[in-house]
């Protein structure tokens, strides 16, 4: 049992923090629910600077442009970037697409796709969900038909986060409609500039501009297929497990909790006694302090499993489920403590913590990423506990 980082890992964290202190001033940090284009571009710039130090893909092998370290270093990076509110970019490529290509890609695909991701030069979006397909993802309908040396794609993808910044989409499409549903799906990378792809804006309640993505006779060369045809479901589900610690999300919320706890020590928004002086508020802060600690440990448990060569499965769902619920518990608690001040948005001079509490409360409605909480409970029960289907 060892809860410490190695000396080298601690040194990496210190160097990273020095970098963040120098490069990420307060005014550039993302406010929950208010990501501006300027902030997003700033995040891309930080990513490229991290890449210049071999830190961006710190856990990737050096042959693919990475830092040659492991999941623990990747966790340290995620935790600190989240805590410093560096606007997020590149995460789909770094966390999902890259690892999948490393395992299932051809030599040509590795050379073409990996290095730009590791250098922070490209943005990916993910095309899994569809208008009629959510939790039952394997019943997806977007069709990819083989036509000579091309695939022709028709259909649409829903909830495409990063769509307006992305260069490529990593997507699942049905290549064999006759096969049993899990066995007729393939994995592709589509250049979003390909003719026939169009976006329809889909604003999210957290301020993000996502899209519904339409595919109208989109022709992709065969070289866009990742892995084996009709094995895409299994490829995608395996590689989803690669980047699942959730430390970025934890730290991003933890920062607001820490700021809020400090805020409660000062005089109350109405000029009265510090909020933390109220026994009930203190008790609630203590409960959330404990919740944050538990969340952190569950995330690191996932990172540690990955570092030991194991593939977290139910453990990742445990951390993810706990995190989604803890984030909402914190947001509700902070809103309750602030009373009417909690309703003030960023921009109001009286909004506590720049409106971050109001923003995180909207963000906390995101109870569905990487599966709804109920899907995560199913995974924990069936795969983790071996309960019958």
């Amino acid at each position: 049992m060892d809860f410490n980082f190695t000396t080298q890992q601690s040194e990496f964290r210190e160097e990273l923090r020095d970098f963040l202190r120098a490069e990420v001033p307060q005014e550039k940090q993302e406010v929950f629910g208010l990501l501006t284009e300027e902030q997003y571009q700033f995040g891309r710039k930080i990513n490229r600077k991290l890449a210049a130090r071999n830190w961006l893909a710190v856990g990737w092998p050096q042959e693919h442009g990475g830092g040659g370290k492991g999941p623990i270093e990747q966790g340290i990076l995620a935790e600190d970037l989240g805590y410093w509110r560096v606007p997020k970019s590149g995460s789909i490529g770094l966390g999902i697409v890259g690892p999948a290509i490393m395992v299932f890609g051809t030599q040509d695909q590795k050379e073409r796709y990996l290095s730009p991701i590791a250098r922070g030069e490209v943005e990916y979006c993910q095309g899994f969900s569809e208008p009629n397909v959510g939790s039952d993802l394997a019943s997806l309908e977007l069709r990819a038909e083989r036509d000579g040396d091309e695939y022709v794609l028709n259909g649409s993808k829903m909830f495409t986060s990063y769509a307006y910044h992305a260069d490529y989409m990593y997507l699942l499409a049905r290549t064999d409609p006759q096969a049993q549903k899990h066995r007729g799906i393939s994995l592709f990378i589509a250049d979003l500039k390909t003719p026939g792809i169009s976006l329809q804006p889909l604003p999210y309640i957290n301020g993000e501009m996502a899209a519904q993505t339409f595919f109208d006779n989109v022709r992709l060369p065969l070289s866009c297929l990742i892995g084996e045809e009709n094995r895409g479901w299994y490829h995608a589900m395996t590689t989803l497990d690669y980047e699942r610690s959730g430390l970025w999300r934890y730290a991003n919320v933890r920062r607001v909790f820490d700021d809020f706890a400090e805020f409660c020590q000062g005089s109350a928004p109405d000029g009265g006694q510090p909020l933390a002086g109220h026994p009930m508020v203190r008790h609630q802060l203590a409960q959330r302090r404990l919740g944050m600690e538990t969340w952190k440990l569950l995330c690191w448990n996932v990172a540690w499993m990955q570092s030991s060569g194991a593939v977290p499965n139910a453990e990742a769902s445990v951390a993810f489920l706990y995190g989604s619920e803890e984030r909402l518990r914190f947001a509700e608690m902070a809103m309750e403590v602030l009373g009417p001040y909690a309703t003030l948005r960023h921009g109001s001079p009286l909004a506590p913590l720049l409106g971050n509490i109001e923003g995180i409360h909207r963000e906390a409605m995101h109870l569905h990423g990487a599966g709804t909480n109920e899907i995560h409970r199913n995974i924990i029960a069936q795969r983790g506990l071996g309960m019958p289907r």
């Binding site: 809860f3 409660c264 020590q265 538990t294 489920l321 409970r377 199913n378 019958p388």
Partner: protein, 361 residues
């Protein structure tokens, strides 16, 4: 970073599980509960033979010199099987006070007996234990509530204050329970848990009764309480893990509406929530144990583990009685043994509210 048990700890866990499944069936737990003294002497002797009564005590006193992490592994198994007896009270809580505060002579006199099981110690705390000076020595008066296993104990360590004047802090004294003026009254408790009201009526203390220095008992007491609290968390963790395994097995076999109830999401999700809580308390508990093993400050981590362990106890009780349902409302079913002990554990060494209050915000 490495959250795996060592090879030795894996072996300890396996051998402890095999031993306790064979030697501590629920029939024994029930028999001890009925006897009222909270003790299984044969099991106690066998546990001494395995070295468990000195698992975290130094080898010079006959202990195995294990880490607190080792002790945590063992207490998980103790919790799974609801193993009765004063292991936590005597071998961890009280023995650690002697180890931390006692003179060489006191340690030599007491600790080998604790390890062999022949000496059983307990701890009395409270505001009403007062010492007075008389004839150049000390006497002890007052009472203490909720003293665990006092009926068996040969000695009670008392955390005392002076009757007159003010010491800066508590003085730890060792009291022979055979001394005149020590009156022990069992408090009728859940599952016949052996806790006592102990009254001290002007008990004269021998010259070597003080553990450590006058008015300087706090650090040794706090250190021992921290280690015992981690053991209590581990016991709770093992008990909740066992409830989880019991309900998952039952839900897989119990058929209603033509299918195992474990196929229903309502049942699966309750089990999943309990699993999440178990995993959280496991991480919190081992973190606290590891920090104490490293000599790092651990007060916050210990309190977080114990606060969450209380929550886990309640969740396990609710999940167990919900999924076992009617049958678990019978005395015959073992679930009630688990839920009764959950309440004892929750109250012992500070409950959730107490430990949340210790957190620095």
């Amino acid at each position: 970073m490495d959250f795996a048990l060592t090879q030795e700890q894996v072996i300890l866990r396996r051998s402890a599980r095999e031993f306790l499944e064979a030697e501590c069936p629920s029939s024994l737990v029930r028999a001890v509960e009925e006897s009222g003294d909270g003790h299984a002497p044969d099991l106690w002797r066998k546990m001494a033979g395995l070295g468990w009564l000195g698992i975290s005590l130094p080898e010079q006193y006959g202990g195995t010199g294990g880490s607190l992490t080792d002790q945590t592994v063992l207490f998980e198994e103790i919790g799974r099987t609801l193993t009765p007896g004063p292991l936590l009270t005597s071998s961890v809580l009280a023995a650690q006070i002697v180890l931390n505060a006692g003179s060489g002579r006191q340690k030599d006199d007491l600790l080998p007996g604790v390890v062999s099981g022949e000496v059983i110690l307990t701890l009395a705390r409270g505001e009403k234990l007062e010492t007075a000076s008389r004839d150049g020595g000390l006497t002890l008066s007052g009472e203490s509530l909720f003293v665990p296993h006092a009926g068996l104990a040969s000695h009670i360590i008392c955390a005392t204050r002076p009757a007159i004047g003010a010491w800066p802090d508590i003085t730890l004294v060792l009291v022979d329970t055979q001394a005149g003026g020590v009156i022990k009254t069992a408090m009728e408790s859940i599952a016949n848990y052996p806790q006592f009201l102990v009254e001290f009526d002007d008990v004269p203390l021998p010259g070597d009764a003080v553990l450590g220095e006058i008015a300087q008992g706090r650090p040794a007491l706090d250190r021992a309480v921290q280690r015992a609290t981690v053991a209590q968390c581990a016991e709770t963790l093992g008990r909740a893990q066992m409830v989880l395994e019991m309900v998952v097995e039952y839900a897989g076999n119990r058929v209603q509406f033509g299918r195992p109830i474990g196929t229903f999401q309502a049942v699966q999700h309750r089990c999943a929530d309990l699993k999440v809580a178990v995993d959280g308390v496991r991480m919190l508990t081992y973190q606290a144990a590891w920090r104490l093993d490293q000599g790092l400050p651990a007060g916050q981590e210990v309190s977080m583990a114990k606060a969450q362990a209380g929550t886990l106890s309640r969740m396990a009780t609710e999940a167990g009685h919900s999924i076992f349902a009617g049958i678990s409302f019978t005395v015959e079913h073992d679930m009630q043994l688990y839920s009764a002990r959950a309440k004892i554990a929750e109250a012992n060494l500070g409950d959730t509210g107490y430990h949340l209050d210790q957190l620095v915000i």
